[in-house]
Symmetry: C2
Subunit: 273 residues, 2 copies
DNA sequence: ACTATCTTTTGGTCCTACATATTAAGGAAA
DNA sequence: TTTCCTTAATATGTAGGACCAAAAGATAGT
């Protein structure tokens, strides 16, 4: 007794129509995406199997797989193997959008000063919002985590990657407290794109301690609801970062972000474009 | 024709290794993406054909197509049919990032307030930077263009789309004067995704005049180097926008962005320049 | 009742064949 | 010689089959 009478409503509503030639994959992907975003398919629901979609769209399985791959890429679906497997609708996470932005930023040549002043501007707004909207336990957690970072730095066997990761996590907590996913989007994208700046701060020994001490103060100011002092701390952080980078630049003559290396390749390239 | 002597350098460098089973598609996609983002493949260059990649990765053509589809989805490559066709590396456009963000926000049912407060925060920083760094002729041009917008609004045959477009252009000029490309990109990304908000402001008759009058004042304050007054104008703009949306919401019981449809937006794949 | 094995479902991979688009080359006509 | 049409070559796009691997349930054996 198959559920032939209980087909989903997008079947009877003719929601899926045969794809046109030439761009069948895009066509199928667009129809499925429209069904998901339009609310006809809710998160957690399961799409028909690939072989069933193949006959519904009157197309080949490769086309269906291509479309599903695009949706998976966007974070709209999650596909599982095996019986009762298939494509399941997901809530899109902000990380997917951040990855797109990070991919774009990675291809651009960005001077570190531009990045710093942008981040500082964002951080200042986040601080104000976080003080106003952050929940008490969030603020307490932020303070506690800065303390953990402090003890981690003071221990001699401090792993550099671990410290940077903790700093990254703190920034994300911070951004989340602003209760505005757009700030989260930006913050995640920046972190994905450029890890090297914070790395620099935690690599130099005098700066590392100042940085975490500043973090502790910032978190406390946020927890206690002192916006002006928090802003002051943030400015202090970026002042330190600028100074640290300037010192490095004077020793290494390196003013750019190491986003991409194009030294070995461009020499032998005689592209007529 | 056997160009066996002129293999590309990523061949001899062992850049592409056979894919792992189970997630061969992702594996291939990751390797190709790494090659592009890492700078081994520059924009304009052509990847090997699908059938050649198929043998290089020691895999099937479906896997290669899946990987290329993922890269195409991200905007990293553009694929053309026919002789001299194939996958060509592209510069990623902001539009892809903004589409991802729009998709996320649409599914999260984000309130327009989040977008407004983010834009206001960005605008305030841009204003300060634009006053400090904008060239005199840029400032003059900004003032002149706000005048043009003013006269366009006063003429009765004002096309709504044209007005919104002029507003959009003004915002971009404004962002450019900050001499920081990140602000420009973020502004463009937000504009690509959410045109509807400004649209609302220019649709209502009382708000339209106030908005352009405010633009004129803002431009003059920027040109004359009055940061506090410029910031005041910007806040006034968003106060108006909030009020306008609130009125619309009260009449239509529509509190969110009308971003459910994605189909019409994805059409602008080509360069929006 | 529990465990091991089989069966079914479903995605993952590989393959061949054909369709279609685009470019380049070659030959006929002006 | 120039122009236009035809044809070939090369590439992606699509169709559909076959088989493998994994996951869940059904079944048989203990």
């Amino acid at each position: 007794m198959a559920n032939s009478m209980n087909k989903n409503e997008y079947d009877s509503n003719q929601l899926f129509s045969p794809a046109q030639v030439g761009r069948a994959g895009e066509d199928v992907a667009l129809q499925l995406e429209a069904a998901i975003v339009g609310g006809h398919l809710l998160p957690g629901e399961r799409l028909p199997s690939e072989r069933e979609l193949q006959v519904r769209f009157r197309t080949g399985r490769g086309v269906v797989r291509e479309a599903l791959g695009a949706l998976k890429q966007k974070g709209l679906i999650e596909v599982r193997k095996g019986a009762k497997g298939g494509a399941f609708v997901r809530q899109v996470e902000v990380g997917y959008a951040s990855q797109s932005l990070a991919l774009f930023l990675a291809q651009q040549e960005i001077r570190s000063e531009n990045l710093i002043e942008f981040r500082e501007s964002i951080d200042r707004t986040i601080a104000i919002l976080a003080i106003a909207r952050g929940l008490p336990d969030e603020k307490a957690q932020l303070v506690a985590d800065t303390r953990r970072l402090e003890t981690a730095v003071e221990s001699s066997d401090a792993d550099l990657a671990l410290l940077v990761e903790m700093d990254r996590s703190l920034n994300l907590q911070f951004a989340r407290m602003a209760r505005n996913p757009i700030f989260e989007w930006i913050m995640k994208a920046l972190q994905l794109g450029f890890r090297s700046l914070d790395h620099a701060l935690y690599a130099a020994d005098p700066y590392r301690r100042q940085c975490v001490a500043n973090w502790v103060t910032t978190a406390r100011d946020i927890a206690e609801g002192e916006p002006m002092q928090a802003l002051s701390c943030i400015s202090s952080h970026y002042t330190m970062l600028r100074r640290c980078l300037k010192e490095m630049r004077e020793t290494q003559t390196e003013g750019r972000l190491p986003g991409r290396r194009q030294g070995a390749n461009t020499a032998e390239r005689s592209d007529p474009c």
